[in-house]
Assembly symmetry: C2
Homo-oligomer: 209 residues x 2
Amino acid sequence: MGGLVEKQCRNALKALTKGDLTLAEKVATSDYKVNDLEVSINAKCTDLLALRQPAASDLRMIVGVIRMAADLERIGDEAEKIGRLAETIASGRDSVQFREDPKHLGKSAIDLLQGALDAFARLDVEAAIVAAAKDPDIDREFDSITRLSITHMMEQPASVKTLLRINWCARAFERIGDHAVNLCEEVVFLVKGSDVRHLSIKEIQDRYL
Amino acid sequence: MGGLVEKQCRNALKALTKGDLTLAEKVATSDYKVNDLEVSINAKCTDLLALRQPAASDLRMIVGVIRMAADLERIGDEAEKIGRLAETIASGRDSVQFREDPKHLGKSAIDLLQGALDAFARLDVEAAIVAAAKDPDIDREFDSITRLSITHMMEQPASVKTLLRINWCARAFERIGDHAVNLCEEVVFLVKGSDVRHLSIKEIQDRYL
């Protein structure tokens, strides 16, 4: 499920920045695969809880996986949203001028997602924290893209629609970063057994690095 | 937790539409209470799974509650976001002209949330489906508010910042509606035992009403 979601995000970014209509349409219509995986992962986890009555770290793994599947599903939703917006943006007159604006932001969010998935695969708390620590940069980059698009909107009112759509894509990537941080926090929960979801990155670093 | 989150949403809407700075600040700084409740609900559920090894409908209730707490926490995040935006909007020159735009949308989203929480309290599948069925109207209203703000942005480029912030508030209410639909779907899961999260409202109605 993680691999598929990561692929969806990469395709969404490519479709947006290259103005690739076919790829955008593919991303916008493939989300059902992610949804199906979430449903089947949830069913398997509930069965395991009922039949095997796991304890301690096995129990944490199952509870953690249920929550991670929900976050991955939401990342899939954001990728689908970017795919739909990319379809509309690609067909706009002024798309070429702005569509690469969220390129670096998108790449950073996908790197964070990849880091979170790798950390989970190796149950590596340190790697999870290193990945999560990149999120504030993503937030700052989103803010600066937004400031830039406000300037563009004021200067070129005719491009407001396109700029707004591109800003929604940027926001979707920013949210993908947030959900990827949740995945990192689940890795800490799985390994260390403590819920760090509402601590700051700094507090988590101080505690576990 | 549901009551607190609903209260945060009501205060967020009031702070935005009345331009009430004190209330906006209160909403923007009270989200930690919601976060703390999510952490303690999760800890209690994990303990129950470990110590009582529940089966069948008890197990579904616990798994469902873990997921509902995550949705409520996200609704709390959206309310906090609206609170922060309302602070900035209230201090803007052109706020009075536009700040009531999302009033009806916000009210509809909060009604849906209230319906979802009531349906959960009474484990009432029919009420959950009736509440969830209101979401498409909320989505349509968000689209029409967005179209209107695009027109305003093109006509009054100097108000772009305020309009963008108000549109983000509208989007946050639209997302509150989406999360409330997830709560409704959990009620169906708890009572009927089947995962309806990726079915359409129409399919759920056909199956259970």
